[in-house]
Protein backbone atom coordinates (compact mmCIF):
# COMPACT_ATOMS: atom_id res chain seq x y z
CA UNK A 1 0.00 0.00 0.00
CA UNK A 2 1.70 3.16 -1.24
CA UNK A 3 1.26 6.32 0.85
CA UNK A 4 -0.76 9.32 -0.18
CA UNK A 5 1.88 11.78 0.94
CA UNK A 6 4.53 12.84 -1.61
CA UNK A 7 7.99 13.41 -0.08
CA UNK A 8 9.24 16.87 -1.07
CA UNK A 9 12.75 18.16 -1.63
CA UNK A 10 12.50 20.11 1.58
CA UNK A 11 11.55 16.95 3.48
CA UNK A 12 14.77 15.36 2.30
CA UNK A 13 16.79 18.42 3.26
CA UNK A 14 15.36 18.20 6.77
CA UNK A 15 15.99 14.46 6.88
CA UNK A 16 19.61 15.03 5.91
CA UNK A 17 20.16 17.73 8.51
CA UNK A 18 18.34 15.90 11.27
CA UNK A 19 20.28 12.72 10.60
CA UNK A 20 23.31 14.23 12.38
CA UNK A 21 21.92 12.67 15.56
CA UNK A 22 22.19 9.23 14.01
CA UNK A 23 24.58 7.97 16.66
CA UNK A 24 22.96 9.22 19.87
CA UNK A 25 21.92 6.56 22.33
CA UNK A 26 24.82 4.35 21.11
CA UNK A 27 25.17 1.04 22.94
CA UNK A 28 27.28 -2.02 22.33
CA UNK A 29 24.07 -4.06 22.21
CA UNK A 30 22.38 -2.37 19.24
CA UNK A 31 25.01 0.21 18.27
CA UNK A 32 23.30 2.94 16.23
CA UNK A 33 19.78 1.46 16.20
CA UNK A 34 18.25 4.15 18.42
CA UNK A 35 19.66 7.22 16.73
CA UNK A 36 19.04 5.76 13.31
CA UNK A 37 15.36 5.22 14.04
CA UNK A 38 15.02 8.53 15.85
CA UNK A 39 16.46 10.43 12.84
CA UNK A 40 13.75 9.20 10.52
CA UNK A 41 10.75 9.78 12.76
CA UNK A 42 9.77 13.31 11.61
CA UNK A 43 9.83 12.21 7.96
CA UNK A 44 8.00 8.96 8.63
CA UNK A 45 5.29 10.83 10.54
CA UNK A 46 4.65 12.85 7.39
CA UNK A 47 3.96 9.62 5.51
CA UNK A 48 1.82 7.87 8.09
CA UNK A 49 0.39 10.85 10.00
CA UNK A 50 -0.89 9.61 13.35
CA UNK A 51 -1.34 5.99 12.24
CA UNK A 52 -0.01 4.57 15.54
CA UNK A 53 0.05 1.04 14.23
CA UNK A 54 2.33 1.85 11.30
CA UNK A 55 4.57 4.00 13.49
CA UNK A 56 4.90 1.28 16.12
CA UNK A 57 5.71 -1.31 13.49
CA UNK A 58 8.22 1.00 11.84
CA UNK A 59 10.01 1.81 15.10
CA UNK A 60 10.09 -1.77 16.29
CA UNK A 61 11.43 -3.18 13.04
CA UNK A 62 14.10 -0.49 12.79
CA UNK A 63 15.44 -1.14 16.25
CA UNK A 64 17.56 -4.03 15.09
CA UNK A 65 21.34 -3.81 15.31
CA UNK A 66 22.91 -1.42 12.84
CA UNK A 67 26.36 0.11 12.58
CA UNK A 68 27.59 2.10 9.67
CA UNK A 69 29.42 5.28 8.76
CA UNK A 70 27.36 8.45 9.36
CA UNK A 71 27.04 9.74 5.81
CA UNK A 72 26.19 6.27 4.63
CA UNK A 73 23.55 6.08 7.35
CA UNK A 74 21.90 9.17 5.90
CA UNK A 75 22.08 7.59 2.48
CA UNK A 76 20.33 4.50 3.84
CA UNK A 77 17.63 6.67 5.41
CA UNK A 78 16.89 8.23 2.04
CA UNK A 79 16.63 4.76 0.58
CA UNK A 80 14.29 3.55 3.32
CA UNK A 81 12.06 6.60 3.06
CA UNK A 82 11.66 6.10 -0.69
CA UNK A 83 10.68 2.48 -0.15
CA UNK A 84 8.31 3.32 2.69
CA UNK A 85 6.67 5.91 0.46
CA UNK A 86 6.31 3.34 -2.30
CA UNK A 87 4.66 0.99 0.18
CA UNK A 88 7.22 -1.79 -0.05
CA UNK A 89 7.06 -4.58 2.49
CA UNK A 90 8.85 -3.42 5.64
CA UNK A 91 10.57 -6.72 6.33
CA UNK A 92 12.07 -6.55 2.86
CA UNK A 93 13.17 -2.99 3.52
CA UNK A 94 14.93 -4.01 6.69
CA UNK A 95 16.60 -6.94 4.99
CA UNK A 96 18.01 -4.64 2.37
CA UNK A 97 19.22 -2.28 5.09
CA UNK A 98 20.89 -5.18 6.89
CA UNK A 99 22.63 -6.31 3.74
CA UNK A 100 23.97 -2.87 2.91
CA UNK A 101 25.13 -1.26 6.12
CA UNK A 102 28.31 -3.35 6.37
CA UNK A 103 29.82 -2.67 2.94
CA UNK A 104 28.71 0.94 3.13
CA UNK A 105 30.54 1.32 6.46
CA UNK A 106 33.78 0.24 4.78
CA UNK A 107 33.28 2.68 1.97
CA UNK A 108 32.36 5.60 4.20
CA UNK A 109 35.19 4.94 6.62
CA UNK A 110 37.68 4.89 3.75
CA UNK A 111 36.49 8.24 2.51
CA UNK A 112 35.82 10.17 5.69
CA UNK A 113 37.92 8.66 8.45
CA UNK A 114 40.92 7.52 6.47
CA UNK A 115 41.18 10.16 3.79
CA UNK A 116 39.39 13.39 4.61
CA UNK A 117 40.45 13.34 8.25
CA UNK A 118 44.24 13.02 7.76
CA UNK A 119 44.23 15.45 4.86
CA UNK A 120 42.22 18.13 6.63
CA UNK A 121 44.22 17.60 9.81
CA UNK A 122 47.47 17.91 7.90
CA UNK A 123 46.49 21.14 6.22
CA UNK A 124 44.97 22.69 9.30
CA UNK A 125 47.70 21.73 11.75
CA UNK A 126 50.28 23.17 9.39
CA UNK A 127 48.30 26.40 9.27
CA UNK A 128 48.04 26.26 13.05
CA UNK A 129 51.72 25.70 13.69
CA UNK A 130 52.53 29.33 14.36
CA UNK A 131 49.39 29.81 16.38
CA UNK A 132 47.20 31.14 13.61
CA UNK A 133 43.44 30.69 14.25
CA UNK A 134 43.07 29.92 10.54
CA UNK A 135 43.99 26.34 11.40
CA UNK A 136 41.06 25.44 13.66
CA UNK A 137 38.66 27.72 11.77
CA UNK A 138 39.34 26.00 8.44
CA UNK A 139 39.05 22.65 10.23
CA UNK A 140 35.63 23.60 11.58
CA UNK A 141 34.58 24.86 8.16
CA UNK A 142 35.63 21.67 6.36
CA UNK A 143 33.71 19.42 8.71
CA UNK A 144 30.73 21.73 8.72
CA UNK A 145 30.53 21.22 4.99
CA UNK A 146 30.98 17.49 5.53
CA UNK A 147 28.04 17.47 7.96
CA UNK A 148 25.87 19.57 5.66
CA UNK A 149 26.67 17.26 2.77
CA UNK A 150 24.30 14.77 4.37
CA UNK A 151 21.48 16.60 2.66
CA UNK A 152 22.96 15.39 -0.59
CA UNK A 153 23.34 11.86 0.72
CA UNK A 154 19.69 11.82 1.77
CA UNK A 155 18.63 12.93 -1.69
CA UNK A 156 20.91 10.44 -3.36
CA UNK A 157 19.53 7.56 -1.35
CA UNK A 158 15.96 8.67 -2.04
CA UNK A 159 16.38 9.17 -5.77
CA UNK A 160 18.37 6.01 -6.41
CA UNK A 161 15.75 4.07 -4.51
CA UNK A 162 15.91 0.35 -5.01
CA UNK A 163 18.17 0.70 -8.02
CA UNK A 164 20.83 1.69 -5.54
CA UNK A 165 21.16 -1.83 -4.22
CA UNK A 166 22.62 -3.37 -7.34
CA UNK A 167 24.64 -0.29 -8.29
CA UNK A 168 26.34 -0.26 -4.94
CA UNK A 169 27.19 -3.92 -4.85
CA UNK A 170 28.60 -3.61 -8.36
CA UNK A 171 30.90 -0.67 -7.69
CA UNK A 172 31.67 -1.15 -4.00
CA UNK A 173 34.79 -3.11 -4.84
CA UNK A 174 36.16 -0.54 -7.24
CA UNK A 175 35.54 2.35 -4.87
CA UNK A 176 36.96 0.54 -1.88
CA UNK A 177 40.02 -0.34 -3.91
CA UNK A 178 40.54 3.25 -4.99
CA UNK A 179 39.99 4.51 -1.45
CA UNK A 180 42.57 1.99 -0.26
CA UNK A 181 45.20 3.22 -2.70
CA UNK A 182 44.49 6.79 -1.75
CA UNK A 183 44.51 6.14 1.97
CA UNK A 184 47.61 3.98 2.01
CA UNK A 185 49.57 6.39 -0.15
CA UNK A 186 48.60 9.27 2.09
CA UNK A 187 49.73 7.29 5.13
CA UNK A 188 53.05 6.66 3.39
CA UNK A 189 53.33 10.38 2.81
CA UNK A 190 52.45 11.19 6.42
CA UNK A 191 55.21 9.05 7.92
CA UNK A 192 58.15 11.41 7.36
CA UNK A 193 56.23 14.47 8.52
CA UNK A 194 54.34 13.08 11.46
CA UNK A 195 56.79 10.83 13.17
CA UNK A 196 60.07 11.95 14.63
CA UNK A 197 62.26 8.95 15.37
CA UNK A 198 65.92 9.87 15.27
CA UNK A 199 68.94 9.33 17.46
CA UNK A 200 70.52 12.42 18.96
CA UNK A 201 73.75 14.19 18.14
CA UNK A 202 75.21 12.66 21.25
CA UNK A 203 75.09 9.08 20.02
CA UNK A 204 78.27 8.56 17.98
CA UNK A 205 80.53 5.70 16.94
CA UNK A 206 83.97 4.98 15.58
CA UNK A 207 87.04 7.12 15.41
CA UNK A 208 85.58 10.16 13.67
CA UNK A 209 82.73 10.39 16.15
CA UNK A 210 80.21 10.26 13.33
CA UNK A 211 76.64 10.16 14.66
CA UNK A 212 74.77 6.88 14.59
CA UNK A 213 71.87 8.71 12.99
CA UNK A 214 74.08 9.57 10.00
CA UNK A 215 74.37 5.85 9.20
CA UNK A 216 70.61 5.53 8.96
CA UNK A 217 70.39 8.73 6.94
CA UNK A 218 72.98 7.29 4.62
CA UNK A 219 71.10 4.07 4.09
CA UNK A 220 67.83 5.94 3.58
CA UNK A 221 66.44 9.12 5.10
CA UNK A 222 63.40 8.51 7.31
CA UNK A 223 64.06 4.78 7.37
CA UNK A 224 63.59 4.71 11.15
CA UNK A 225 60.08 6.26 11.18
CA UNK A 226 59.12 3.93 8.33
CA UNK A 227 60.40 0.88 10.15
CA UNK A 228 58.77 2.04 13.37
CA UNK A 229 55.33 2.24 11.75
CA UNK A 230 55.77 -1.27 10.41
CA UNK A 231 56.83 -2.47 13.86
CA UNK A 232 53.66 -1.01 15.37
CA UNK A 233 51.60 -2.50 12.57
CA UNK A 234 53.19 -5.86 13.25
CA UNK A 235 52.47 -5.64 16.96
CA UNK A 236 48.80 -4.95 16.25
CA UNK A 237 48.34 -7.41 13.40
CA UNK A 238 50.39 -10.44 14.38
CA UNK A 239 50.82 -10.02 18.11
CA UNK A 240 47.31 -8.70 18.75
CA UNK A 241 48.67 -6.15 21.19
CA UNK A 242 46.21 -3.62 22.56
CA UNK A 243 46.44 0.05 21.66
CA UNK A 244 46.95 0.87 25.32
CA UNK A 245 49.89 -1.51 25.69
CA UNK A 246 51.57 -0.08 22.61
CA UNK A 247 51.11 3.49 23.82
CA UNK A 248 52.52 2.68 27.23
CA UNK A 249 55.40 0.85 25.59
CA UNK A 250 56.24 3.90 23.53
CA UNK A 251 56.17 6.14 26.58
CA UNK A 252 58.47 3.81 28.50
CA UNK A 253 60.77 3.63 25.48
CA UNK A 254 60.84 7.40 25.14
CA UNK A 255 61.73 7.90 28.79
CA UNK A 256 64.43 5.23 28.58
CA UNK A 257 65.95 6.87 25.49
CA UNK A 258 65.88 10.19 27.29
CA UNK A 259 67.70 8.85 30.33
CA UNK A 260 70.27 7.10 28.14
CA UNK A 261 70.81 10.38 26.30
CA UNK A 262 70.33 8.59 22.96
CA UNK A 263 67.46 10.75 21.73
Amino acid sequence: MASNYKITKSDLTKLGLYSVIEQIGFSFERMQALGFTCSMLPTIKKIYGDDKEQLADFMTKNMEFINTEMHMATFLMGLIVSMEEAGEDRTLICNIKNGLFGPLAGLGDAIFWFTLLPISAAICTSLAQDGSPLGPLLYIAIWFVSAISRIWFARLGYSLGTKAVSTISENANAITRAAGILGVMVVGGLIPTYITFAFGEGLTYGINEATVQSIFDNVMPNILPLGFVFLIYYLFKKKNMSVLAVILGIIVFGIAMSYLGWM
Binding site: V20, I21, Q23, I24, G25, F26, S27, F28, E29, M31, C38, L41, K52, E53, L55, M59, T60, M63, D109, W113, I119, A122, C124, T125, S126, A128, G131, P136, Y139, I140, S146, R177, A178, A179, G180, I181, V184, M185, V187, G188, G189, P192, Y194, I195, T196, F197, N222, P225, F228, I232, Y233, L235, F236, I247, I251, G254, I255, M257, S258, Y259
Partner: protein, 265 residues
Protein backbone atom coordinates in the same frame (compact mmCIF):
# COMPACT_ATOMS: atom_id res chain seq x y z
CA UNK B 1 52.47 28.43 35.44
CA UNK B 2 48.95 29.79 35.63
CA UNK B 3 45.92 29.15 37.75
CA UNK B 4 42.47 28.31 36.43
CA UNK B 5 39.75 30.38 38.08
CA UNK B 6 36.37 28.94 39.02
CA UNK B 7 34.65 30.87 36.26
CA UNK B 8 37.13 29.60 33.73
CA UNK B 9 36.58 26.10 35.10
CA UNK B 10 32.82 26.38 34.61
CA UNK B 11 33.22 27.80 31.11
CA UNK B 12 35.56 24.92 30.23
CA UNK B 13 32.86 22.57 31.49
CA UNK B 14 30.39 24.08 29.05
CA UNK B 15 32.90 23.78 26.22
CA UNK B 16 33.43 20.10 26.99
CA UNK B 17 29.68 19.53 27.28
CA UNK B 18 29.06 20.94 23.82
CA UNK B 19 31.95 19.07 22.28
CA UNK B 20 30.81 15.86 23.98
CA UNK B 21 27.37 16.27 22.41
CA UNK B 22 29.15 16.41 19.06
CA UNK B 23 31.35 13.47 20.00
CA UNK B 24 28.33 11.21 20.23
CA UNK B 25 27.04 12.47 16.89
CA UNK B 26 30.45 12.48 15.17
CA UNK B 27 28.87 15.19 13.02
CA UNK B 28 30.83 18.45 13.24
CA UNK B 29 34.15 17.12 14.55
CA UNK B 30 34.20 19.54 17.45
CA UNK B 31 35.28 16.57 19.55
CA UNK B 32 38.64 16.52 17.76
CA UNK B 33 41.61 17.87 19.77
CA UNK B 34 42.12 20.66 17.22
CA UNK B 35 38.73 22.19 17.96
CA UNK B 36 38.23 21.49 21.66
CA UNK B 37 41.71 22.83 22.40
CA UNK B 38 41.01 25.95 20.36
CA UNK B 39 37.90 26.75 22.38
CA UNK B 40 39.60 25.89 25.67
CA UNK B 41 42.50 28.18 24.80
CA UNK B 42 40.08 31.04 24.23
CA UNK B 43 38.43 30.43 27.57
CA UNK B 44 41.84 30.38 29.27
CA UNK B 45 42.79 33.67 27.62
CA UNK B 46 45.64 32.09 25.63
CA UNK B 47 44.21 31.27 22.24
CA UNK B 48 47.62 30.72 20.71
CA UNK B 49 48.48 28.05 23.25
CA UNK B 50 45.15 26.37 22.54
CA UNK B 51 45.82 26.35 18.83
CA UNK B 52 49.34 24.97 19.10
CA UNK B 53 48.47 22.33 21.69
CA UNK B 54 45.43 21.34 19.65
CA UNK B 55 47.58 20.84 16.56
CA UNK B 56 50.02 18.62 18.42
CA UNK B 57 47.27 16.50 19.96
CA UNK B 58 45.32 16.33 16.70
CA UNK B 59 48.21 14.69 14.91
CA UNK B 60 48.81 12.18 17.70
CA UNK B 61 45.20 11.10 17.82
CA UNK B 62 44.82 10.93 14.07
CA UNK B 63 44.63 7.20 13.86
CA UNK B 64 43.02 6.45 17.21
CA UNK B 65 39.65 6.23 15.55
CA UNK B 66 36.28 4.97 16.70
CA UNK B 67 35.88 2.96 13.53
CA UNK B 68 33.69 -0.11 13.90
CA UNK B 69 32.28 1.09 17.19
CA UNK B 70 35.52 0.63 19.14
CA UNK B 71 36.39 3.10 21.88
CA UNK B 72 39.99 4.37 21.74
CA UNK B 73 41.79 6.67 24.21
CA UNK B 74 39.55 9.72 24.15
CA UNK B 75 40.61 12.46 21.71
CA UNK B 76 38.31 15.07 23.24
CA UNK B 77 39.77 14.66 26.71
CA UNK B 78 43.30 14.42 25.30
CA UNK B 79 42.97 17.71 23.44
CA UNK B 80 41.33 19.36 26.41
CA UNK B 81 43.83 18.21 29.04
CA UNK B 82 46.83 18.97 26.80
CA UNK B 83 45.87 22.63 26.82
CA UNK B 84 44.98 22.60 30.48
CA UNK B 85 48.23 20.97 31.58
CA UNK B 86 50.34 23.13 29.28
CA UNK B 87 48.58 26.18 30.72
CA UNK B 88 48.82 25.31 34.38
CA UNK B 89 52.31 23.84 34.40
CA UNK B 90 53.95 26.02 31.77
CA UNK B 91 55.37 22.97 29.99
CA UNK B 92 55.48 22.61 26.21
CA UNK B 93 52.63 21.02 24.30
CA UNK B 94 54.53 17.75 23.59
CA UNK B 95 55.12 17.15 27.27
CA UNK B 96 51.58 18.10 28.16
CA UNK B 97 50.31 15.67 25.54
CA UNK B 98 52.19 12.84 27.23
CA UNK B 99 50.81 13.84 30.61
CA UNK B 100 47.26 14.05 29.31
CA UNK B 101 47.25 10.34 28.51
CA UNK B 102 45.88 9.16 31.89
CA UNK B 103 42.88 11.42 31.43
CA UNK B 104 42.30 10.20 27.89
CA UNK B 105 42.25 6.67 29.26
CA UNK B 106 39.84 7.66 32.04
CA UNK B 107 37.45 9.11 29.48
CA UNK B 108 37.84 5.97 27.35
CA UNK B 109 36.68 3.85 30.29
CA UNK B 110 33.79 6.20 30.93
CA UNK B 111 32.74 5.75 27.31
CA UNK B 112 32.89 1.98 27.54
CA UNK B 113 30.82 2.12 30.71
CA UNK B 114 28.05 4.12 29.03
CA UNK B 115 28.05 2.01 25.88
CA UNK B 116 27.48 -1.02 28.07
CA UNK B 117 25.01 0.54 30.46
CA UNK B 118 22.84 1.92 27.67
CA UNK B 119 21.29 -1.47 27.10
CA UNK B 120 18.74 -0.14 29.59
CA UNK B 121 18.04 2.76 27.26
CA UNK B 122 17.37 0.24 24.52
CA UNK B 123 14.78 -1.43 26.74
CA UNK B 124 13.04 1.88 27.39
CA UNK B 125 12.96 2.74 23.71
CA UNK B 126 11.55 -0.66 22.82
CA UNK B 127 8.57 0.03 25.04
CA UNK B 128 7.98 3.44 23.46
CA UNK B 129 8.33 1.86 20.03
CA UNK B 130 5.70 -0.77 20.72
CA UNK B 131 3.35 1.95 21.89
CA UNK B 132 4.03 3.89 18.69
CA UNK B 133 4.94 6.86 20.86
CA UNK B 134 7.42 8.80 18.73
CA UNK B 135 7.64 11.69 21.19
CA UNK B 136 8.67 9.47 24.07
CA UNK B 137 11.12 7.57 21.87
CA UNK B 138 12.79 10.81 20.89
CA UNK B 139 12.90 12.14 24.44
CA UNK B 140 14.60 8.99 25.72
CA UNK B 141 17.27 9.23 23.04
CA UNK B 142 17.91 12.87 23.85
CA UNK B 143 18.10 12.08 27.53
CA UNK B 144 20.75 9.43 26.98
CA UNK B 145 22.68 11.86 24.83
CA UNK B 146 22.70 14.64 27.42
CA UNK B 147 23.49 12.40 30.38
CA UNK B 148 26.63 11.01 28.77
CA UNK B 149 27.79 14.48 27.72
CA UNK B 150 27.11 15.80 31.22
CA UNK B 151 29.19 13.06 32.79
CA UNK B 152 32.08 13.88 30.47
CA UNK B 153 31.78 17.59 31.32
CA UNK B 154 31.89 16.92 35.05
CA UNK B 155 34.97 14.74 34.75
CA UNK B 156 36.61 17.47 32.70
CA UNK B 157 35.76 20.11 35.28
CA UNK B 158 37.19 18.04 38.11
CA UNK B 159 40.36 17.23 36.18
CA UNK B 160 40.97 20.79 35.06
CA UNK B 161 39.84 22.84 38.04
CA UNK B 162 39.85 20.42 40.94
CA UNK B 163 43.11 18.66 40.31
CA UNK B 164 45.17 21.59 39.10
CA UNK B 165 47.31 21.88 42.21
CA UNK B 166 48.18 18.20 42.56
CA UNK B 167 49.00 18.07 38.86
CA UNK B 168 51.22 21.14 39.13
CA UNK B 169 53.09 19.71 42.07
CA UNK B 170 53.38 16.33 40.44
CA UNK B 171 54.75 17.76 37.22
CA UNK B 172 57.08 20.23 38.91
CA UNK B 173 58.76 17.39 40.71
CA UNK B 174 59.66 15.88 37.31
CA UNK B 175 63.34 15.63 36.44
CA UNK B 176 64.29 17.10 33.02
CA UNK B 177 65.03 13.68 31.59
CA UNK B 178 61.51 12.53 32.33
CA UNK B 179 60.00 15.61 30.73
CA UNK B 180 62.19 15.14 27.69
CA UNK B 181 61.23 11.47 27.63
CA UNK B 182 57.59 12.44 27.36
CA UNK B 183 58.43 14.72 24.48
CA UNK B 184 60.32 11.97 22.70
CA UNK B 185 57.39 9.61 23.18
CA UNK B 186 54.94 12.30 22.08
CA UNK B 187 56.84 12.66 18.82
CA UNK B 188 56.52 8.94 18.19
CA UNK B 189 52.90 8.47 19.20
CA UNK B 190 51.47 9.27 15.76
CA UNK B 191 52.94 5.95 14.65
CA UNK B 192 50.18 4.30 16.66
CA UNK B 193 47.56 6.13 14.67
CA UNK B 194 49.15 5.33 11.36
CA UNK B 195 49.63 1.71 12.41
CA UNK B 196 45.92 1.47 13.21
CA UNK B 197 44.98 3.07 9.89
CA UNK B 198 47.13 0.49 8.12
CA UNK B 199 45.46 -2.32 10.07
CA UNK B 200 42.23 -1.45 8.30
CA UNK B 201 43.45 -0.33 4.92
CA UNK B 202 46.62 -2.18 4.04
CA UNK B 203 46.41 -5.27 1.89
CA UNK B 204 48.50 -7.18 -0.63
CA UNK B 205 47.18 -5.12 -3.49
CA UNK B 206 47.86 -1.64 -2.22
CA UNK B 207 51.05 -2.00 -0.21
CA UNK B 208 53.28 -0.71 -3.04
CA UNK B 209 51.51 2.64 -2.92
CA UNK B 210 52.58 3.09 0.68
CA UNK B 211 56.19 3.14 -0.43
CA UNK B 212 55.50 5.47 -3.31
CA UNK B 213 53.83 7.93 -0.95
CA UNK B 214 56.71 7.60 1.47
CA UNK B 215 59.23 8.23 -1.28
CA UNK B 216 57.38 11.31 -2.48
CA UNK B 217 57.27 12.82 0.97
CA UNK B 218 60.89 12.04 1.73
CA UNK B 219 62.56 13.03 -1.50
CA UNK B 220 60.59 15.91 -2.90
CA UNK B 221 60.10 19.23 -1.17
CA UNK B 222 56.55 18.36 -0.10
CA UNK B 223 55.73 19.28 3.47
CA UNK B 224 51.98 18.92 3.29
CA UNK B 225 50.00 15.83 2.48
CA UNK B 226 47.69 17.54 -0.01
CA UNK B 227 49.97 17.29 -3.06
CA UNK B 228 50.54 13.63 -2.27
CA UNK B 229 46.82 13.10 -1.93
CA UNK B 230 46.38 14.82 -5.30
CA UNK B 231 48.80 12.42 -6.96
CA UNK B 232 47.23 9.53 -5.05
CA UNK B 233 43.83 10.41 -6.46
CA UNK B 234 45.39 10.57 -9.92
CA UNK B 235 47.00 7.15 -9.49
CA UNK B 236 43.89 5.61 -7.95
CA UNK B 237 41.90 6.88 -10.88
CA UNK B 238 44.35 5.47 -13.43
CA UNK B 239 44.14 2.17 -11.58
CA UNK B 240 40.37 2.37 -11.68
CA UNK B 241 40.40 2.88 -15.44
CA UNK B 242 42.66 -0.13 -15.97
CA UNK B 243 40.47 -2.27 -13.80
CA UNK B 244 37.36 -1.23 -15.67
CA UNK B 245 39.03 -2.19 -18.93
CA UNK B 246 40.10 -5.54 -17.60
CA UNK B 247 36.62 -6.18 -16.30
CA UNK B 248 35.30 -5.33 -19.74
CA UNK B 249 37.77 -7.76 -21.31
CA UNK B 250 36.67 -10.55 -18.99
CA UNK B 251 33.05 -9.66 -19.55
CA UNK B 252 33.63 -9.79 -23.29
CA UNK B 253 34.81 -13.34 -22.84
CA UNK B 254 31.67 -14.25 -21.00
CA UNK B 255 29.40 -12.34 -23.35
CA UNK B 256 30.98 -14.00 -26.34
CA UNK B 257 30.38 -17.28 -24.69
CA UNK B 258 26.81 -16.36 -23.86
CA UNK B 259 26.00 -15.40 -27.43
CA UNK B 260 27.67 -18.54 -28.49
CA UNK B 261 25.52 -20.73 -26.34
CA UNK B 262 22.44 -19.48 -28.08
CA UNK B 263 23.97 -20.28 -31.43
CA UNK B 264 24.87 -23.71 -30.20
CA UNK B 265 21.41 -24.57 -29.00
Amino acid sequence: MNEITLIQGLLLMIVVFICALDQQMEAFYWFRPMVVAFFSGIVLGDMELGIKAGAVAELSYLGLLTVGGTVPPDPLMAGFMTVVIAYTTGRGAETALGLSLPFALLAQWLGIFFNTAYSTVVRMCEKAAKAGDTGKFTRICYGAWFVKSGAMAIVAFLAAYGLQEPIQNFVNAFPTELVHGFEVAGNMLPAVGLGLLLMVMLNNQNIPYLFIGFFMATFTGVDNVLPIAMVAVAIAYIDYLYNQKMKAASAAAVAVDGGDDEDGI
